[in-house]
Symmetry: C2
Subunit: 325 residues, 2 copies
């Protein structure tokens, strides 16, 4: 049985874990990232953490087939370099070389959202199909594209920026500089913005009461709570949110026709209240001819383990492709 070591480099924490060939997580540890440090120090700490996980699992380094690192930003996996990172001091950091100074095993690097999508595709909600797209609805909207059970992220490894697809030309400003991106509507941030606006425009709504009159306490759950209480304003916000998310997902369907779209992130805690109407609208908006099978929308299953498991499975995939790590 081969083992793989996955590392999830985040702005707050670094997590590392060991999986088997199938992506089953065997043990996991984490430390603080402390992103104010120099990149080389952070990479060295990642390697020490990896050694600790190996020790906990009672494995020798040679028993790990490869190490996968999921990092925010754009990797150059061929050369083992992180070209740049969001919220971290990484610019053309030779992560593979630095990491191997401490733990000398093959090292592969990919984007954190891509490896999370691979985790769902190998061990999660889309494990039964070859083609899936995973969309994470959090503070922003990110995601990854898996084709034939492998991450596809374009010629420069910078693709599958699913949040930065304009669906409302000239619409709400997006963090990327464009206007009207899917992220500006389908993120928790976008949902909160619309809930606040609706509460202000409709003082008769229960929304204000749900947050004790303090609109700054509105979060991504508030509109769904109001809708469940029968509030027309809350329902309108939820309906509009689902409609715009469905437009974005239908764009992905028409372009990529994945077997499955997996949705994750905080907003998905709404479960069936979100999933059922969303599937209905995506079915209606998708460009399907008569007799053509439709894409299924499913809830993510990997939760907080997606980064570590996906990074490990990415390393497995790179080894299988004969890449040098």
């Amino acid at each position: 049985m081969r083992h793989f070591l996955g590392i999830d480099l985040g702005g707050t924490n670094i997590k590392a874990g060991i999986t088997d060939e199938a992506g089953t997580l065997q043990c996991r540890e984490s430390i603080k990232t402390r992103p104010e440090r120099r990149a080389a120090e952070i990479v060295r700490d990642m390697a020490y953490l990896a050694q600790n996980v190996l020790a906990s699992a009672k494995l020798a380094p040679a028993e790990v087939a490869a190490v996968g690192i999921g990092a925010p930003g754009t990797p150059d996996n061929a050369n083992g370099v992180l070209i740049y990172a969001n919220n971290l001091p990484f610019l053309n950091v030779p992560m593979r070389a630095e990491f191997r100074k401490v733990l000398d095993r093959p090292v592969f690097i990919d984007n954190d959202a891509n490896v999370a999508a691979l985790a769902e595709a190998v061990a999660g909600a889309a494990a039964d199909v070859p083609h899936s797209v995973t969309v994470t609805l959090g503070t922003g909207v990110g995601g990854g594209v898996v084709i034939d059970r492998r991450i596809y992220s374009g010629f420069n490894q910078a693709g599958s920026e699913l949040g930065h697809i304009v669906i409302v030309q000239g619409g709400e400003p997006c963090t990327c500089g464009r206007k009207g991106c899917l992220e500006a509507y389908a993120s928790a941030t976008g949902l909160v913005r619309e809930t606040v606006r609706a509460a202000k425009a409709h003082p008769e709504s229960v929304i204000s009461g749900l947050v004790g009159g303090d609109l700054s306490r509105i979060d991504a759950r508030t509109a769904f709570q109001a809708a469940r209480a029968g509030d027309a304003t809350g329902q309108a916000v939820v309906d509009r949110y689902i409609e715009l998310l469905a437009e974005g997902l239908a764009n992905l369907v028409n372009l990529l026709m994945p077997n499955v779209i997996v949705i994750g992130g905080g907003v998905c805690n709404e479960g069936e209240a979100l999933l059922r109407p969303l599937q209905e609208r995506v079915d209606a908006l998708g460009y399907y001819g008569p007799g053509v099978a439709k894409t299924q929308v499913r809830l993510a299953r990997m939760g907080n383990d997606a980064g570590v498991v996906g990074a490990a499975m990415m390393a497995r995939s790179c080894l299988a492709d004969g890449m040098k790590g």
Copy 2:
């Protein structure tokens, strides 16, 4: 040297041609489709046409490694069936079986826009790169996605409907039933609609004069002609056309990061007047981090041969994948 036979099934004409392994076209013939006929008759005529092309090329059937058919609509290549077609009386037609009754060689089927994209990827404007997207700006907007030099069209072969990506939610009605699709703005049809509207709103523009006062004579060239003559209204129509096309292409970039986007179709006869500002806007709208390589936009090269050459190269690709035809 192996040969491949490509067939381009269109609503008006059926074209067939023979290529070598590299997609170089060696001879080509065509007949009328006469789409009012039964599907079985049309398929039989396709096979007779293929036999004629073989005779012209002085090739025995056994010298053709495989036959590729590019057809409008959604194919089921695994089973050799055309599930349905646009503008043709095809519904679950067993094309492979019918064709092989006349010419008994392996037969593969794919969508016409997909095979045209493969033609550009093998023998045309994107022959030097692994990943490309070809977008055709004609009466509608169609296209195909090529990943690792192979057509990718999703789990149901119905994907890469590039025209049916909403960029203006709630915008202009599209032929697909949604509102604000790229096709509604970037097609020749959309460009004509906007040119007519602008001419009506701005009687001082030269547009009306360019068409002898008959606005029904406005075509996809008119706004570009007016812009070249220094007309502000014509320039505004061209600028808006390029901006919306760039929004659509930037969506493709952010999602797929192909090395190259190939644009074809009538509108592309404008050449550099379209390409130069378009590349500039796509560069500006794309989600590239510092130091990340950018997608190039190029003009299509395959012209009317794209369907035949692409169908032949699709057959080559299917054989290489070990598929049964």
